[in-house]
Amino acid sequence: MEYYLQLIINGLVVGSIYSLVALGFVIIFKATKVVNFAQGEMVMAGAYICFALTVQYQLPFLLSFLITLVFSLVLGILVERMVLRPLIGEPIISVVMVTIGLSSILKSLVQVFWGTQIRVFPPILPQEPIMVFGLPIAPVYIAASVLCLLLFAVFSLFFKYSSLGIAMRATAFDQQAAQSMGIGIKNIFALSWCIAAVVSSIGGIILGNINGINSQLGHLGLKVFPAVILGGLDSLLGAALGGLIIGVLENLSEGLARDLLNLGGFKEVASFVVLVIILMVKPYGLFGTKEIERV
């Protein structure tokens, strides 16, 4: 029983990182209707930049964290300007493939600079586990979950009350109407890519502190698809819940498959089995907007 409780808690922590990455994903999709297959590689890029600054250049962690955020902002703007803007109005497959191409480029850059082996961040928080309800939990796990919660709160407030957030929602709802009300759509697009890059980097840095990073980190981007589809491609709340559910589900099914069916590595595929079922039953997810088409 304790084993399963431990699995659930691990799932929640990993799930909160999925939620963060899914948040970036949803923001881009909401504003620009682009599905970003390079989200995982953005996570990886942020994690490696922060790693290089703290380990190779010996900067204090907080400073390198801030520099990484600035770097992600620049990355977001560059990607939007150079790659996505020429493709506005092109068919979906072109946009998907351009983000896949982008992910290859980011991955190869990381491998050229840092190789393929696992890199470990220097420990920032104490290693001694804290007892919560009789279960030992590493402080970095707690910090990760708290940070994710905090970010979600910030973004919810941002979208609800700030004028930029409202402009972003307006753009997502109806681009033409928003434009005619004087909202600079192009800036909104760039902004959404920036936010996505920033939250992905934060996710990457947290992951680096938990597990270490390697060049396969981009695979995480694939894990996010079940989470966002479950929650609904264009819902922030959906991204948060979807991430948590998928995280828990993955860990639990891994444990169950090993105990009951003697199957290893079921974690890798469990969320995709769920994904297929969701798509068959409820294609727009829990909170997604239904697209209604008329001839």
């Binding site: 979906i92 072109s94 290859s104 491998q111 589809i229 199957l263 994904l275």
Partner: protein, 347 residues
């Protein structure tokens, strides 16, 4: 644009696959050159050409599904894998080569149809993600169904044999693969001209109008998935027989992506485009290999970067093509042809 002096007097003559004598002559010369190639070229070029032809089958089949019918699939690599494993398993049971190949294709077709069922409700990005799930689930099956697939160790495949004739060298395999590729390419060209092909195009262009004029969406979408995955299975089977050893990582998501890259770089919905794309994407790493080995003689540390650089160049090519030539190589080809037809006038 038709060749000057080519006039059609019947519908049948206009509907021909190769209307002009010039085209037929060129095609005949090309076939003759291909048949003569193994006698002239050395081993390395033959093996590259074999890989290209297997890629052509895969690309043409994906183009039928994605380019012609508009159903984006990120799981094509896994369907190729189903074909390869299907062939290998049947061959290990001692079945003759042709039956194995068809059986592998049929298994891939069934897998394609199962994962094609969601396409009735899903389209665009949702379909892409559901086929991505198909890819990852099938990869898991290849890796973990050890009694059938040998798991991570992979499984060996013997050289094919038809009526006692062994295809045990690259040159012999060349003729076998060339024959099957020709059949597949002609097959797809003809499917596109048929009733089904027109239904596919109607579904791609606007599925609701297609349904309104009486196209059965479910039937034709499944048909597209089945035909396309059957051919993907053939490509997989040939690959298994040619490389003689298959492992799960050969059929990873990277393979699906490179097939998609082939049809995008070649030209969506065009058979000729798939051929161009397959040649381009297969040659790209070969050219880079040569380049890095040349570079390594000057700077030895460059060879360590070869693998990541390959991936980067692949991504960069894809991005540049999508930005600057979204219609692919086939459009460039048409421009070149038009230039020579109109020469020396610009219009």
């Amino acid at each position: 644009m038709q060749k000057c002096g080519l006039f059609f007097t019947t519908y049948n003559s206009e509907d021909q696959l190769f209307p002009s004598t010039f085209q037929k002559t060129c095609l005949g010369l090309f076939m003759a050159a291909m048949l003569a190639a193994p006698c002239v070229l050395d081993f390395y070029y033959i093996s590259v050409m074999n890989l290209i032809m297997i890629a052509v089958i895969g690309a043409v089949s994906l183009n039928l599904l994605t380019g012609v019918c508009g159903q984006m699939s990120l799981g094509h690599g896994a369907f190729v894998g189903v074909g390869a494993y299907g062939c290998a398993v049947l061959a290990s049971k001692g079945l003759p080569f042709l039956l194995c190949l068809l059986g592998g294709g049929a298994m891939a077709a069934i897998a394609g149809m199962i994962f094609g069922i969601p396409s009735l409700r899903l389209k665009g990005i949702y379909l892409a993600i559901s086929t991505l799930a198909a890819q990852l689930i099938l990869e898991y099956v290849f890796l973990h169904w050890t009694s059938f697939t040998g798991g991570a160790n992979g499984m060996p495949v013997d050289s094919p044999e038809i009526f006692g004739f062994m295809f045990d060298s690259d040159e012999k395999m060349f003729y076998l693969i060339f024959a099957i590729t020709t059949v597949c390419v002609l097959g797809v060209s003809n499917i596109v001209r048929s009733r089904s092909g027109r239904a596919f195009v109607a579904i791609r262009d606007f599925y609701q109008s297609a349904e309104n004029v009486g196209v059965n969406l479910f039937q034709y979408k499944l048909q597209a998935f089945a035909t396309s995955s059957f051919m993907a299975g053939l490509a997989g089977g040939l690959w298994a027989y040619y490389t003689m050893y298959i492992t799960p990582e050969q059929f990873s998501i990277g393979l699906s992506i490179s097939y998609l890259a082939m049809i995008i770089i070649g030209g969506m919905g065009s058979v000729l485009g798939s051929i161009f794309g397959a040649i381009f994407i297969t040659l790209l790493p070969e050219v880079l290999n040569t380049a890095t080995s040349l570079l390594a003689t000057v700077a030895p540390e460059a060879s360590a970067m070869a693998a990541p650089l390959k991936e980067g160049v692949f991504g960069l090519t894809l991005v540049l093509f999508l930005i600057f030539e979204p219609e692919g190589l086939v459009r460039k080809w048409k421009l070149i042809k038009a230039y020579w037809k109109l020469y020396p006038f610009a219009y």
